[in-house]
Symmetry: C3
Subunit: 681 residues, 3 copies
Amino acid sequence: MEKRCLFPQAGGFLHGGDYNPDQWLDRPDILKEDIRLMKLAGVNCVTLGVFSWVMYEPVEGQFSFDWLEEIMDRLYAEGIYTILSTPSAAHPAWLDAAYPTVMMVKANGERNRHGGRGNSCWSSPKYREKIGIIDRKLASRFGSHPGLLLWHISNEVGGECFCPLCAERFREYLGRRFDQDIQKLNQAWWTPFWGHCYSDFAQIEPPYSNGETSIPGLLVEWKRFTTWNIVDFLKTEIRIFKELTPQIPVTLNFMSFSQKLDYREAAKELSLVSWDSYPAFHNDQETLYETMAKTAFHHVLIRSLKPEKPYLLMECTPSVVHGMPYNKQKRPGVHRLACLQAIACGSDSVLYFQWRKNRGGHEQHHGAVVDHLGTGDTRIFREVSEVGSMLRRISEAAGSMPGSGAALLVDWDNRWALNEGRLAGEQTKNYEKTCIALWKEFFRRGVEMNVVSTEADLSGCRVVVAPMMYMLRPGTAANLKRFVENGGLLLATYLTGYVDEHQLCYMGGFPGDGLSALFGVISEELDTLYPSDRNGIRFADGTHWEVYDYAEVLRVGSAEVLGVYAEDYYQDGAAVTCNTYGQGKAYYVAARVAPAQMWTLFERMLKEAGLPVKCLPEGVEYHQRRGEKDVYDFYLNWTTQARDVPVAEGEDLLTGHPVTENMLRLDPYGAAVIRRLAPEE
Amino acid sequence: MEKRCLFPQAGGFLHGGDYNPDQWLDRPDILKEDIRLMKLAGVNCVTLGVFSWVMYEPVEGQFSFDWLEEIMDRLYAEGIYTILSTPSAAHPAWLDAAYPTVMMVKANGERNRHGGRGNSCWSSPKYREKIGIIDRKLASRFGSHPGLLLWHISNEVGGECFCPLCAERFREYLGRRFDQDIQKLNQAWWTPFWGHCYSDFAQIEPPYSNGETSIPGLLVEWKRFTTWNIVDFLKTEIRIFKELTPQIPVTLNFMSFSQKLDYREAAKELSLVSWDSYPAFHNDQETLYETMAKTAFHHVLIRSLKPEKPYLLMECTPSVVHGMPYNKQKRPGVHRLACLQAIACGSDSVLYFQWRKNRGGHEQHHGAVVDHLGTGDTRIFREVSEVGSMLRRISEAAGSMPGSGAALLVDWDNRWALNEGRLAGEQTKNYEKTCIALWKEFFRRGVEMNVVSTEADLSGCRVVVAPMMYMLRPGTAANLKRFVENGGLLLATYLTGYVDEHQLCYMGGFPGDGLSALFGVISEELDTLYPSDRNGIRFADGTHWEVYDYAEVLRVGSAEVLGVYAEDYYQDGAAVTCNTYGQGKAYYVAARVAPAQMWTLFERMLKEAGLPVKCLPEGVEYHQRRGEKDVYDFYLNWTTQARDVPVAEGEDLLTGHPVTENMLRLDPYGAAVIRRLAPEE
Amino acid sequence: MEKRCLFPQAGGFLHGGDYNPDQWLDRPDILKEDIRLMKLAGVNCVTLGVFSWVMYEPVEGQFSFDWLEEIMDRLYAEGIYTILSTPSAAHPAWLDAAYPTVMMVKANGERNRHGGRGNSCWSSPKYREKIGIIDRKLASRFGSHPGLLLWHISNEVGGECFCPLCAERFREYLGRRFDQDIQKLNQAWWTPFWGHCYSDFAQIEPPYSNGETSIPGLLVEWKRFTTWNIVDFLKTEIRIFKELTPQIPVTLNFMSFSQKLDYREAAKELSLVSWDSYPAFHNDQETLYETMAKTAFHHVLIRSLKPEKPYLLMECTPSVVHGMPYNKQKRPGVHRLACLQAIACGSDSVLYFQWRKNRGGHEQHHGAVVDHLGTGDTRIFREVSEVGSMLRRISEAAGSMPGSGAALLVDWDNRWALNEGRLAGEQTKNYEKTCIALWKEFFRRGVEMNVVSTEADLSGCRVVVAPMMYMLRPGTAANLKRFVENGGLLLATYLTGYVDEHQLCYMGGFPGDGLSALFGVISEELDTLYPSDRNGIRFADGTHWEVYDYAEVLRVGSAEVLGVYAEDYYQDGAAVTCNTYGQGKAYYVAARVAPAQMWTLFERMLKEAGLPVKCLPEGVEYHQRRGEKDVYDFYLNWTTQARDVPVAEGEDLLTGHPVTENMLRLDPYGAAVIRRLAPEE
């Protein structure tokens, strides 16, 4: 497999993070000490300027970049590269005072006042004009700086604006979407219900909290519009860099599985993707392994946005996260392991927010590399330095790529539609949780599973799991049929194929759009169970699964029945089916069961697909990255006990020792990165 | 007893429900199929036009009724009658766009935007004008249609509007209420407290959430005003039909025990009453029997609004209810039983919302007779068809009437006053729950108990229970005294007679307005217990009741002490008393105890009153309807076990079999409707 | 010790309370009966006029005081004195109608409407003008009335106003605070974080809920400004009385440990302090003793606002409190005990809200001396009368003073900063709870501990406990050093010395501002535990403390390590230390442990300090007041069992009996007030 090094000049992985010298310009001693400590910690990259608008333009129309150039020069002189951010995420006070319409309007129709961040109207021409001026100046002045690696657009973008201008743009968007034909929209949104037909696009408003929140088609389209509008805004920023500095890639930092924006649409505009990872380490609801399995899912989700190259971990904290319910310290060794997890999943960086804690301001207690104490002899600083050393030891793996033959189907608009839908259970739909829980069963056996769109090309996949695919996008049914026809193994669940992209229910039987033929079943009823209700599924071999939350009553067509309900009025009715379709098979699981119980079925599918399964001890995570000749096996032990792991022979890059036995002992919170020759493909 | 058939032309009970062909006008195949399926399901009546304003008047001033006439004609040709609704419950988008003041203003003073339903300012002249135009056209065009049974005004009416116009009308209303004398109002509302005296009616505002919420008299009067204003609006609609189509009755559909409107005031304007019933079937907090006992209470409450004739069940669902926390399927047979319960309680209809599920829109997943699947071979459709057959089998009972010698006193303004009062316990007042729990003890023994106003003529009653009658209306005390004087048996509880209609506390001892003479006690203290606190009541015969939530400390006058407190500083103080007054007796229960424990006292009262008690197995419900010569005994088994019930001999109309034994076995979810000769009265 | 009698003319303690004859002016019979009953109850003082603005000025500019004079005369003639209140706490309706800007604006920027009380804009010139007119008239007319004891300003003052005028005054205040230098403010608030630098004071807004809530320095300064502004308003009222009636003292009534106002700033303007005490008697979360220990803390907190003289209990209720979740009756005897607690803590009054229950209005069910029943033969009236007798029996103790050698340090702005800080745990900081819990350990052993500011003169103290002193005020560190240097014993905890007065973190190690030298430790990490997490602290003598919520990882400098952590990555690290500094010692407890476990350490400190400890049975409270020659020992038994208490010999003023044994038996809810000769000082 070809290696795709993102930044060869940096010599492997990036290590560093957000650096805010703007706060310390009156303390040259601290700026100097920062560079000394960065080198001590193995930092080779910092992100500058994330919130520096007011530093670049302290007064409207008066610009100041000298301080930045001096910092970049000094860093570069010491071998430290720069990711340079546009400062669109936080407005200067003068901007909001002079142009109040640049601020976001909330769902109640009330305009925000100056404050916080992420407080912009995406449509505002003034905001776009003003940030465009800054961006052009940044591009012109720093685009050819040898230390510049990457443009970083805004920060953790997302959020809906309900201002009059956005409302007007929503109407224009709808006009285009429905060919300027209001009857098409009425039909698609089924507005005759409750007599809500529009006679003119001008009558349509966003779903204000005191307005129209009862049209499902409008609700989901508003989400899509917000994504469209944010991306439209991002493009005004990105366009400038593509024009003036085509040689410099562009990214923005995502936020795990955010509800606020369809990341797939944003990723299309980027050169590479990155994200900010803030798990709740050592919480009291789950084991650390479970926490980190969720984090691995998020890594894979982000990676899948741009699967052809590595991504970046743009932010994480070496110690406590600001603003959690409980700001607990990461235990010694856990930071190293979390950083290695990012690398194992395909990140080519470990970057922090932030280098040095701010003395005041909102996140003054968020864990940073350098604490208010200011010294390099803290536990946290030592652990960061160890990560620096570790990254250098495994630097040859930079640019190598993970591979996968399995995929989980996830769509943003399906999620929006399902979560807002007034059906099933108010508190029990749990779309994200269900996706992660299913994914985790594969993760536990070392099966690398991607997270992809229902419209993605599935030709590289053997096994596809599609949970709760309530809303089908226009091409989804055809895509899935093609996949199975060509030999793929597909598994879908209850709540599949109820509505089309406009939230219109399919007529003639769920799953709709032809999927009932693919699965060979029709779901006649959805039974929603109360939390204390239980049913079961019986299999011919005696296996029994416990059912909770949801159970569909099926009519079986061409499918083979694998499991039947154990109780209630649909006792003996089909609950798990398999339909042979073309070269492949389509499985349907009509009820919710604990994913761990479903493993028997997953295992059967993996076996049919010829995908290997690893036998990992509880709490051990596995990934593989593939280089041109070598593969790198990553083993991470998230437990406080030593773990014996079956491995292939090679060399452990972390220790430099050869691995000659088939069993390797991992220390508590220990890890191994074993390089070995790639098997012939 | 005389039979009062509502619609002789329909030949017995109505069966059918809301039908929205407006959504399918472009699908003549579906409209045709609808009629075929309706006949299959035994449907003889549909409700049209509930949300059809925008279909009647798609553009302001342009009207379109041909489609409706065509539908009504076609239905009538097939023997299906129409209930025709006015469409005032949901505004066309053009109306809100053109006349924003037709929309409701919430308690925070913010005007709603276009959206949802039930979003009208009751005072708006424009809204009244516009709906008046539609109503006149409907009356003129369809008033003499042979298929028309009934006018249906608006939908599930209720809700407060705080707009400037409503505020102004509130002030005018207060002027009339207090003889234009602001000092009368100040005295009634005790405004010198906190120095809140008004010097002019112009200073008074509705209880905005950011305004005056600290005057109890104002709070309750605002509720009364809202009822007055809604009824005033309803009268503008009803007046048109009374004028143009005096031969057609008028109803509107209530919503169980709504807080939003004093249904008694609205019922005065109607020809007959109806309601929409949506219990949470099979929930995890109570047995199905308990759920359905509550529903029976609601049936009886609605029936009591117009006790001289049968009422209608205007809406229910054959399967899941939209928008519940858990949208669980009704188990097979339960729908039939719930429909029979409505009939047993005195309804002359079983009507659904709705006939066919809408493809999109807010309630797209609400259970309907015809599912998105579109066929007549579903379980739900079959169960509806069985209801159709059942109604035909018992059709002779249509027009017969329930009878009762017991009553529970319930007032809307007492409830408002009590629930908003800052006394007793924030979470433990539970007025509705307490009413229902007391009522249920009679229900469990087959004692038909009406629910009536404290001002109602009680001359037909033998036993009256008056729970938590905190606020006394002007005539209440006299009414109760008259009832007892004439031989009635009355039971009242803690929290009786604290305030008058203006929320002024009675002076000289609770219960006020002379009731302390009726009961022969004065309540000196109200002790409010914490949830974990308990006390007890001891009786001479050794009976012990457990006390929770409330205990009043009594001074005993003329009353006989039946039970005394078991503990605490009021140990041995009177807790249950009986006062002989005229020909009757007035019981006072000064503390809250579980209603089931109170049965010993209720039984004593029923015995004294000569009212018979039935011995029903757990989970079996009983009602009786009386025709001219026959009575109909209804037995419903809400459990999943067979139940043996002692019955009188007759014929079971459901099976057509004679009942010759004194014991009848009811199947799980089974029922019997036994016709027998009425005993001589 | 010198006695400081507040009102010698009243002859001992004040007994009485808020009296609202305004509500009964049309009932001369009731006004007459009131005086008869007052004398029966031993009332010698009432508070008049608290909400009488509309009675004084029923129409703008028309005044009416005759009614008040008549009442005061009549009371005085019967030996009942008057505390006269300014009526600023509740606006007449005409005022709000005529001048809407006198009403408060909430954090969302929305102006309140007329209603309730405490609804004033502190800045409003019109409000100040109008209340000033009333106040001048009151002072002129009643200032020399022989019955007048005291001016009572407004009522339970507090609350933030976000109106444009207050916003403008906030900016002016900031200008003064930061020398009109916006860069000083930027530096102090660390605004470069998130690029939030201001270029002009005009850009600064209050922390509107939809505005700038992310600058910690702004948040705490807004609180300080609100205090400043409220006090500025109070001064406009107080100034009038100081000018016109310099002989009459001035007070206002506080509300236990209110978050809304820094009471220390307000107290500076007052002649004496008072407060309103409304504990949740007999609740189900704690024993009565625990409830009353909290109340004792509040008594001591209020007392400490003006430690040189007695304070007043301005309001309490003899029975139920209005508006609690559960309005439970006080058990017989508990009212007497609660009144005696006030006296024991240093109050020279027992006053009620209110004398007679209002018939209507918001608090119509709040317990009063005379109930709606209207008679003097109720339990409540009897208990009040007994309090009247009791106060006469112990009247010689009026003016005597409590003494103390221990102090707990509490600051309002530390509390605001800590509670709003985004660090540690969202739900577990519990500053108030922790203060009270620590204080209670001393209280349980009869050690009288004051509650004082971190800037207070500590020279009279031997032992000082300083919990969670997160924010250090400018002089705090020096004050504490001075205290210890001079031989004081100081104990501080985790979360000490993190930020300065502007919320800037100290650099160079916590606790900052030089306190790390005082304690001889630096806190390197704060570990926040989840609720189910536990650690421990081991001491050399085998003692073990359980750790929850918080644990700091220490670097030990000059301090001696007393206890070390038992587990986790900081096992064996210092947890409890002691640093000898000058003549004294500074203890540091780095983790949260149950205060009861900390007693071993407190005992050691008290012993070192030579402060005596009493051995009190569980549930018994002790205080001492000192007169010129005598001391008064108060013993209160909060349990329902008799308790034997070790006492010194003297005379029990409650019984008049000599106490000659060293052990006294207290009845359930019993008490003793033992007068004995003061030991030589």
